[in-house]
């Protein structure tokens, strides 16, 4: 008679990132003998579907529910309902922007979208040329979707601050709709770079800049001429990091996001220990880290 856990995500199964979460989640569940279910949506980022799934999960009365809270209001009532009926609710991957004040969840395991965006831009800014104008492009992969908008918002926030700090330099920040498809992103940003060869850096809100790196390689542009950075460690990005085209990548350690909450739930259930917030890392990954990560990636851990 083990733990019963449901994990509600706002993402769809074809998103590679969530497959790593799933792996950590499944592994952890096996370790503690929990009966676990991951519930994804059918379209990427569909909050209403996630909420419906949360409701169904509550109806089946599990011991614990993990939920990626990607909106400040939509989940609140249901989370309260769940907590009131004695279910342990943890926010994983995404949280209310007001944190614990935002709703009744017990703890947050993950990394804020906005904060992650901020740290990405900060890390990449180390690689900016020391003088001359800066042309910075923020690719909003899915305009209107929380994860994309908030990451882009974080990136922009840092860049604006940077701009204010360096008021002597000419700094342009452009937002483009860069699509959530490797080929489309490559096509659009490739074209953009054609039109604006003096672009300094491109920030993606996902991992689709791997396609852009491929375009740069095809064109024979040397690594580092256009700085690339984004989120999540998928094999494509790791390859391009090794090749030098991608300088920084934010890793939220998805395996950990799947693994830790199960452990916390287990301890809560068996030992009465209170779950606590875990920051799965502002995990800035640079090319030096790649060889070790590749090793782990083979085991599906990164």
């Amino acid at each position: 008679e083990g733990l019963n856990i449901a994990f509600i995500s706002h993402s769809s199964a074809s998103n590679t990132f969530w497959q790593a979460v799933k792996k950590g989640y499944d592994d952890a569940c096996e370790k503690v003998g929990a009966s676990c279910q991951l519930i994804l949506t059918q379209t990427e980022g569909a909050v209403e579907q996630a909420v419906a799934n949360l409701q169904a999960a509550i109806a089946s009365r599990p011991d614990a529910i993990f939920v990626a809270i990607v909106d400040n209001n939509a989940y609140d009532n249901l989370i309260k309902e769940a907590v009131d009926s004695g279910i342990l609710v943890l926010a994983v991957n995404g949280d209310d922007s007001e944190g614990a004040k935002g709703n009744a969840r017990k703890a947050f395991i993950g990394q804020g979208f906005s904060a992650a965006g901020y740290s990405l831009a900060k890390a990449q800014s180390e690689n900016f040329p020391k003088e001359g104008p800066l042309n910075l492009v923020v690719g909003v992969n899915a305009p209107g979707q929380t994860w994309s908008e908030q990451r882009a918002g974080g990136v922009t926030k840092f860049l604006e601050e940077y701009k204010a700090e360096h008021s002597d330099r000419e700094i342009n920040i452009t937002r483009v709709d860069s699509a959530t498809d490797l080929a489309l992103t490559a096509d659009r940003i490739g074209a953009y770079l054609n039109a604006n060869p003096d672009t300094t850096a491109y920030f993606d809100t996902g991992y689709w800049h791997a396609g852009v790196a491929k375009v740069l390689k095809d064109r024979g542009i040397e690594p580092g001429k256009v700085l690339l950075g984004g989120f999540d460690l998928v094999p494509e990005v790791l390859q391009q990091m090794q090749a030098g085209y991608v300088q920084v990548q934010v890793d939220q350690q998805p395996y950990m996001q799947g693994f830790i909450p199960v452990m916390q739930a287990y301890l809560w259930k068996t030992a009465g220990l209170t779950p606590s917030d875990v920051d799965t890392g502002q995990g800035i990954v640079t090319p030096e880290d790649v060889p070790t990560i590749l090793e782990l990636a083979k085991q599906g851990l990164r």
Partner: protein, 326 residues
């Protein structure tokens, strides 16, 4: 008895209902009775009115022979524009009406462009899918404005007594009944069917087919917008991303409920049954703890199965030999 069975099975929406009952029984067993638990019904009934209203609008439009792919975007546009209007200080009722008028305008543009230039509504509304979504994002500035806290949301989201139904369900029932009456009792409903059944014939019998179609486009958009409003009030925040992918789901619900893709045939009741089937499949699969990676597989197979079973029942019915109308 035989005659009764025949008349029953002849109606695709009733055949769909039979199928629904079977599915409910199966999932009820597979989920250890959770499917029909109060809690779960309550959950399903929250989302149902929203989906069903969209499906009803799409069904109406499909009966008159046109298509609307923009419902998902309008679903998001209406509550977003309403929130923006609300935040500029306009009172609730006026803001809702303004929002619905925007939807009506979108529907009008869909219809006008389609008919004026005689282009397929598939394209017009595909264009509108992008346009309305883009506008939603633009007016939200990327980040959704918050809803003022003092809205009379109880009018839409409160539970009715101790039942698993929210007020939104009541709205849905009333609207569905009105649209059903429009379709089957009024002359306008007759015109809609005639227009979709054979456009040229309808026109040659003196029906203002263009105006009929534009009215359906507008009604479809308004219903989608109203459904979006219900959802946003329920969730508490006007997200710019809601309703993505709704267009295909609404068409699927309509078709499962017996609406013909070619037009002329369909019922409001069928749209509701279709939506219920889709929601039950989705919910039942979650409760049966299907693995996340296989989830879409199961959805796909069951959707196909629903339509196949429906077609099969219709075929069986046609094989029953009862001299009709004697």
């Amino acid at each position: 008895m035989k005659r009764f069975l025949k008349i029953y099975l002849d109606k695709p929406e009733l055949a769909g209902l039979a199928l629904l009952i079977v599915l409910v029984l199966v999932f009820q067993a597979k989920s250890n009775g959770i499917l029909l638990s109060f809690e779960n019904i309550r959950g399903v009934m929250g989302l149902l009115p929203e989906m069903a209203l969209v499906a009803i609008g799409v069904t109406l439009l499909m009966i008159c022979g046109e298509f609307d792919l923009s419902v998902g975007s309008v679903f998001a546009l209406m509550p977003m524009s309403m929130s923006v209007i609300l935040n500029s200080g306009v009172p609730f009722t006026a803001a809702v009406l303004l929002g619905l008028m925007i939807c009506g305008a979108v529907g009008f543009i869909n219809g006008y462009v389609t008919l004026q230039f005689s282009i397929p509504s598939f394209i017009t509304t595909l264009g509108m899918l992008f346009i309305a979504r883009s506008l939603t994002i633009v007016i939200s500035g990327g980040f959704p404005p918050l809803l003022p806290p003092d809205l009379p949301t109880w009018l839409f989201t409160d539970y009715i007594g101790g039942s698993p139904f929210r007020m939104s369900f009541l709205w849905f029932v009333v609207i569905a009944a009105l649209v059903a009456a429009l379709l089957s009792l009024t002359n306008f409903g007759n015109w809609i069917r005639a227009t979709g059944g054979f456009n040229e014939a309808a026109a040659s019998m003196g029906i203002p087919v263009k105006r009929v179609k534009i009215a359906c486009f507008m009604l479809c958009s308004v219903l989608a917008g109203f459904a979006g409003l219900l959802q946003v009030l329920r969730l508490g925040s006007p997200l710019p991303s809601i309703g993505e992918g709704l267009e295909l789901q609404a068409v699927a619900a309509a078709v499962i409920g017996g609406t013909a893709l070619a037009g002329g045939i369909g019922t409001v009741f069928g749209a509701i049954v279709g939506t219920l089937l889709i929601r039950t499949i989705d919910n039942g699969l979650v409760l049966s703890r299907v693995d996340a990676n296989w989830f879409k597989f199961a959805i796909g197979v069951l959707t196909m199965f629903a339509v196949i079973a429906n077609a099969w029942m219709g075929k069986m019915s046609r094989k029953i030999k009862v001299e009709a109308h004697k």
